[in-house]
Symmetry: C2
Subunit: 217 residues, 2 copies
DNA sequence: TCTAGGATACTCTATATAGAGTCCCCGATG
DNA sequence: CATCGGGGACTCTATATAGAGTATCCTAGA
């Protein structure tokens, strides 16, 4: 088996850091933080040490020394192995070349949109719009700072990507909200009707089942 | 504490289904599948039953009956409680109104882009482009089918959203690839140089550290 | 000089999760 | 009539994960 388990991208981050030079896990965390890679990779200590252990078990990194200063906890310095270099390369290549299915929370929320009444949905979408605008504004400010610091674009492509996604999301929300306001969203009348019942929230049922999936003779 | 744990969106999906009518977990899974909600919410049996248990412990759903036909495994039918209705509403409202930070795999990959040589990166990006195009093509075909089945747009907004994100990703990848080809990507010379060393892969170190984060006098 | 607060460098534990495995039924096939 | 395959409806288990907790050192203020 060439690829043991490629679950947590934090493991990839560790490999990248150790490919630069040997470090102890806490130092890996620092490095990722000062480079703002913790914006793109979920980083917390609980997972970090677990992930390093896994890498050790898979033979991708190995302990190179354990220092101790005073009576502070030991620091174990790890180095990447040859197998680690290979795995780093293959994993990263795969991540770049093949798009993976993601499950964004908002996509899930949209799936169940009919479960809230349409008027409330409208104001919730408005709130999201405002928050997204705020987020994009501060992201823009940050981008200017980074540019002024003369940090080449190569080192913040990931931030650009995140911003592009958020922008698309904002446009989508605005359009959906507009269609809702204009009454041009197909299914709206059903939606209003379902929530018009006086007997409290009747969130669904949607009027389609297996029979809509394929035609029968 | 009004909100116990709002981790897994599958729990939300279960609440939505049970708000429609009482079901046993397997039936919930079926329902989600026939409505293609398993495209927006990660669904697998291992998690499903665990999630239902959690909902029971939190008092959001309760067992209403357990049937048995023949010697097949028992089917426990669950119904949503009043607290469950409240939680369903609040959770969904939050998901719609406040954008959550996500960690897409490709964003992580972009973070570490300099770890592969630039020429290889170019062809990996090409491969991604092709795969994204294929994905979007089949998504388009599916969308037409759904439209022909007269399924109102309200019931597939989430798919529209996913497509919008993928389109943005495709554009982003195309542009990045083009900048790479044109040599207009800032940092490219450093990138080439680092990977030009004959002593194998020297993936990093990037030429910035804490000193770039803030100015000193 | 005493102390409050913040790094440093982990460690612990309860819970979540994925994926495989299990057991039974039913219809079709040879 | 035996058996084969494909659902249905879970159950089991090893691993991953988040978040809080711990213990030491250092610095700067009162």
């Amino acid at each position: 088996m060439p690829a043991g388990k490629r679950a947590n991208p934090l493991a990839l981050a560790v490999l990248v850091c150790l490919a630069e030079r040997p470090m102890h896990p806490y130092e890996v965390a620092q490095t990722l933080r000062t480079r703002h890679k913790d914006d793109s990779v979920r980083l917390n200590y609980g997972s970090l040490y677990a992930v390093v252990d896994t890498l050790v078990r898979r033979g991708l990194v190995e302990a190179s020394e354990t220092e101790r200063s005073g009576r502070l906890p030991e620091r174990t310095v790890y180095r990447i192995t040859d197998a680690g270099h290979v795995e780093l390369h293959d994993w990263l290549a795969e991540l770049i070349a093949v798009p993976a299915k993601e499950y964004p929370a908002f996509e899930a929320a949209l799936s169940f949109l009919p479960a809230v009444p349409p008027d409330e949905a409208a104001s919730l979408l408005d709130e999201r719009t405002q928050r997204l605008e705020a987020e994009l504004a501060s992201a823009g400010a940050l981008r200017e700072l980074v540019e002024k610091a003369r940090l080449p674009r190569l080192f913040w492509v990931e931030a650009e990507f995140a911003i592009a996604l958020r922008r698309t999301e904002l446009e989508f929300v605005r359009r959906l909200r507009a269609d809702l306001a204009a009454g041009t969203l197909e299914g709206l009348s059903w939606w209003r009707q379902v929530h018009g019942q006086p007997d409290g929230p009747v969130p669904l049922p949607p009027p389609w089942g297996p029979e809509h999936d394929e035609e029968r003779p």
